[in-house]
Amino acid sequence: MSGFRIKLSRSLRNKVHGSWMTVCLVFVISMPVIIAGGLYWKSSVLLHDHGVFSLIFSKEWKPLSGQFGFYPFIISSIWVTMTALILAAPICLLTAIHLTQYAKRWVLKIMHPVIDILAGIPSVIYGVWGILVVVPFIGNHLGTWLGKSVSGYSILAGGIVLAIMVIPFVLNILIDVFNNIPTELSEASLSLGATRWQTIKFVLVKKGLPGIVAAFGLGMSRAFGETIAVLMVVGNVSRIPSGLFQPGYPLPALIANNYGEMLSIPLYDSALMLSALILFVVVLGFNFVSRYIIAACDKRC
């Protein structure tokens, strides 16, 4: 009898557990849809009033008179993201090759925790560092050196801080990409008389190219959505930037800076939710394509 009871309670436990697991799984899988739906629900008011294209390409941002043009913010976002990517990409690629092909054990032993810690530093700390080091450097040294008077709070400052934030992230993916390339390939190349560097250039980089592109894509979407660190150093002037030393006002900063007034001006909350939706769609798109390339690449190798 007691044996029967134990069996019942075990299978009961199993069933309860199975259902809780299923509930959690369904919740997690439907999360992207729920987030998109929620943001669309809030921003639909504005979308129906103005239409997507007129909002994205309009340059006027005057919430008080009901004009919401996202163009300056989108352009700022693109400027900052591209600056960050151009700065970070060569460093990441070279370091990844160094760590996977040349580096000795002790270098790896130092660099692993360094990358881990860099990846774990909160964005506020990066922002503080940006204000303490990067902004004064641009304002006082780089500015006078180039003969311009700049405040330092600029696209370039945002780009530098962002570049350092995405380096550990991109580096980890790149190291994976290079480690996944079969060693036979480089061995074959070396045995045919190619130098180490020729092997890297013509075999490893060529073979890993889709993965490298995908890693940069992921880094780019990470940079595109980063908020606080950029907000702290980029200057936040809602004008279309025309150069690296101009202040900018990227989309995430727009959302973070204006949440206070959001509810007191009509349609303002709708506009901010729409910018969150734009971020969501852009980042999701980039991520999806990059992940797809990486998955296809893994299958082929």
Binding site: V28, I29, T95, H98, P113, W197, G225, A276, L279, V283
Partner: protein, 285 residues
């Protein structure tokens, strides 16, 4: 030709060495400049008192409210995320082990969720708050941060569970265990270091993020006594104090940054120690 090849290789090796060094140097620079600017202003008063009346004009007080708020918020959301995340991670590796395509689909969705910027989670949390009719409070903050860290936690746990040998599952099944027993008594135990790493990683993320709590947790000078009260968090306190025109207040932001940095470093150190220590208890095939 040979000379050129040699020169090219040396040139790029130097570049590679330089870029690797650069990354190390940047970390050193960040640590150095934050500590150098913050440490002189860090005092016992800073971390043991809540802000008093004129705190934001440079008078007495500390940031205890923010420290406690951060701990409450991160603990609450890590706990909630654990109860949702662990079953999903186990299910992916125990129950659905036969449907690899489906599991890979779930992994893709989780990776996509991981990539979504935290400000979007913040905005979504705000929408949810409006929909449910709750004010900016500790509860709203916890819910938002939970949603934000669930994908991170599941993916980290999943990476650990993936390494468990398949034979373990087959052996346990053949001895008559139910799937839930296998999940908790075999797979969970086998992968404890990975689980602890996942939890600490999520805790660190929860403690360090601003954008997701900006809309939802509110900000207050008091230590929250109930879940319906607003709560201050450390990153948010740093952010607000830095935008102050008074240099006294800004200096305190630097000191608060040192405190936050300390918390994150301790978590990262703990992760390394724990994952090293428990490795000995694993069953190896």
């Amino acid at each position: 030709m040979k000379k050129f090849l040699k020169a090219e290789e040396i040139f790029f090796r130097v570049l590679m060495f330089l870029s690797t060094t650069l990354i190390g140097t940047v970390l050193f620079l960040i640590v150095f400049s934050v500590i150098k600017n913050g440490l002189p202003y860090l005092s016992w008063e800073m971390i043991s008192e809540v802000p008093s009346g004129g705190y934001y004009f440079g008078k007495e007080g500390g940031i205890l409210n923010a420290i406690v708020g951060t701990v409450y918020l991160s603990l609450g959301s890590t706990l909630l995320a654990f109860f949702v995340g662990l079953p999903v991670a186990l299910m992916m590796n125990v129950h659905l082990v036969r449907y690899q395509r489906f599991v890979n689909g779930i992994r893709l969705i989780l990776d996509l969720l991981w990539g979504i910027p935290s400000i979007v989670y913040g905005a979504f949390g705000f929408t949810l708050m409006v929909y449910l009719g709750i004010r900016a409070s500790l509860l709203a903050g916890i819910i938002t941060v939970t949603i934000f860290i669930i994908p991170i936690m599941i993916r980290a746990m999943d990476e650990a569970l993936k390494t468990a040998p398949r034979g373990l599952l087959e052996a346990a099944l053949s001895l008559g265990s139910t799937r839930s027993e296998i999940s908790y008594r075999v797979f969970f135990k086998q992968c404890i270091p990975g689980m602890v790493t996942a939890i600490l990683l999520s805790f660190g993320r929860a403690a360090g993020d601003v954008a997701s709590v900006l809309f939802t947790a509110g900000f207050t000078d008091a230590i929250p006594t109930s879940i319906n009260q607003p709560a201050a968090t450390l990153p948010l306190a740093i952010f607000f104090q830095l935008s102050s025109p008074i240099s006294e207040v800004r200096h305190r932001a630097y000191a608060a940054a040192v405190v936050l940095f300390g918390i994150i470093l301790v978590i990262s150190l703990l992760t390394r120690i724990i994952s090293g220590k428990y490795k000995k208890n694993r069953i190896n095939f």
